[in-house]
Symmetry: C2
Amino acid sequence: MSRHSPFDPAALAAEIFDAVREMSRDAEGVSRPAFSPLETEVLDYLAAFGARHGLVVTEDAGRNRVFCRPEHAAAESWTLIGSHVDSVPMGGNFDGLAGVVAGLLVLIGGADRLARPVKLLAMRGEESAWFGSCYLGSKMLTGTMTATDLAAGHKGDNRPLRDHLADLGIDTEAVAAGRPLCDLGPIRAYLELHIEQGPLLVEKAIPAAVVTGIRGNFRYRAIRCIGEGGHSGAVPRAYRHDPVLAMADLLSRLDETWRRILITGGDLVLTSGVIGTDATRHAIARIPDEVAFSLDIRSQSAQTLTEMQLYLAEEMADIARARGVRFETGPRVDSAPAMMDAEITEGLMAAMARRGIEPFAMASGGGHDAAVFAQAGIPAGMVFVRNRNGSHNPHEAMELDDFLIATSILAAYLEE
Amino acid sequence: MSRHSPFDPAALAAEIFDAVREMSRDAEGVSRPAFSPLETEVLDYLAAFGARHGLVVTEDAGRNRVFCRPEHAAAESWTLIGSHVDSVPMGGNFDGLAGVVAGLLVLIGGADRLARPVKLLAMRGEESAWFGSCYLGSKMLTGTMTATDLAAGHKGDNRPLRDHLADLGIDTEAVAAGRPLCDLGPIRAYLELHIEQGPLLVEKAIPAAVVTGIRGNFRYRAIRCIGEGGHSGAVPRAYRHDPVLAMADLLSRLDETWRRILITGGDLVLTSGVIGTDATRHAIARIPDEVAFSLDIRSQSAQTLTEMQLYLAEEMADIARARGVRFETGPRVDSAPAMMDAEITEGLMAAMARRGIEPFAMASGGGHDAAVFAQAGIPAGMVFVRNRNGSHNPHEAMELDDFLIATSILAAYLEE
């Protein structure tokens, strides 16, 4: 297909999705490791695809690829569409890649229609599965990568991220010094399209949504509740210090508070994903002496997160007092929420309406590179595509029609 | 020491406890496997000790030892004091053995004072640690051993119980046919002294107690609560089917109901000793799709147990409906409660008062051979001795003074 063929976004999208899926097939789903040769190969394929369709393609200091129409190659400022090409191990094909393909379609189909210069940034290294933390590509660009990030070992070969970056010729001294690898000045706004990672759009039968903000979170990897072991039959309730019932009490209180926060219009999700008594000591006929459980609490509102931290501490203290147990939380890991820019969000909602879809806005529970750009002070906006079965698994299922609708919202916004 | 020395119960008790501890020392605590050569060795030692102190010692068809004073050797009926000599692996020295030593002291010290004939039965095989179920010795005597019991493999060599019994010359055909190995007719009553396996007497500063009944129980090894996995940040509360919060809800409801049952005078203990999400699938940032937890619910009252089964089923159904999860309980294992004989309990309380101790009665949370005899229709009674740190561990700590007080209650009752 040449740059002069009629623009057929469905065919173009299918071509890219199929080709990249074939390049990155794993035992189940696809695997595109962050900062790997395969990731480079995918970027090379995309660059060649873009060039074939008349786009100018360059490489930035983070070894990402930047695409634009020839008439915008010398622009002084631009709106940046960004997304990542890496995936989790045995993940789905659309998480990240869909945003890049959307950007390509906007550029390729945008001849003479884009109101202002637009560039597409196809990034490396967003998924935390490979080096333990996320947004690595965008953190380098914005100068916010930490020493911990750089020293983190790769899931497979255990070599530090620093070495993997050096292999790609990235200036790790600049990264370590916190110098942005990219000049943020000309970026007027940052836009990202992503599959929804939850079930809301499927449940509500809506093909796409505008994202209001990316939830921040605080997490505890393993809160230990320590009580006192004993014979399951022989210790009366008044003398028990049962850590499992104490944990159940805490989780039930958190659940009820969650319900109340939602009723009053707040934004919150709350998960204890990993819980267990100690397999080396537990028994059916023994009161356990200890249980451990993780907590992951997210909100778009920094204030709600702070309030939940205080509430959690109060409830743990209350339960510890009432039940004679002890909570040892271990370190708390925080990630600040990132609000999308109100003006961009409104613009995207209006574009959605112009496309004949009832405007719908929602929070993003998962993190995205858009959060990094927003925290760097760049007005950001996001569009979600309806997607079945969540993300980070081979069963994610975005319909091409929904993807084209969501892409057309981006295009309509940029053509305004 | 000969049969004509002055009776010094503290010295005799210390002599036996020390000798048997030495015979059965393990890396930690003591190990006296059920139906093992070491168990036979301990019975031989006790038989020799009894004989040295003027008792007549015989062996029954279960290869247990029966002790009595010479004047009662030809009695037509008797009160039976019973206890077991086996222990759990790396357990404490007093669980089981204390009851045998108490019986020896009652007989040796009882010259001319016992109101009626008394025999002591030193039994094998009470602990479930070796072949998976408990009361094996007393079940054979009463003809209630099951085919499952006989086929169960030994914890160490995995040979079935049937073979271990045959090694001892026990008639496994009779056992398999459910024929009692012992003539229960002449047994007027069954008495047992045991260390308390909970903290009640320590907490209440009481040296001994009369037992009102042995709690029955029902147990589920692993109730699965099955929900729906998902991204911890991306699934709103309304679309969650979180099995961990469902389990927490259930355990909190059970805990509250437990509290209410106690307030209204009921007897109940409730434990979830083993819980966990699936280590091969769980993650901090994922809503788990499943959690498993054990339940062990005990009461002296069969009616309370039945009510709790119904209540549990109702609450699971209610939570399943409200939260869109599913509970799969797996098989329920039941053990019926055994009430001690009211007349014997009153007699033991009166004996306690005669010894100058404020009478105190309590339920037994752990199971004991007394339950088997009670269920065989023999009026039964039990006395508990204060004991620190529970049982089935090397740290159990019964004071000899408390043991002598509890033994003197038995003696006072039998001398009445």
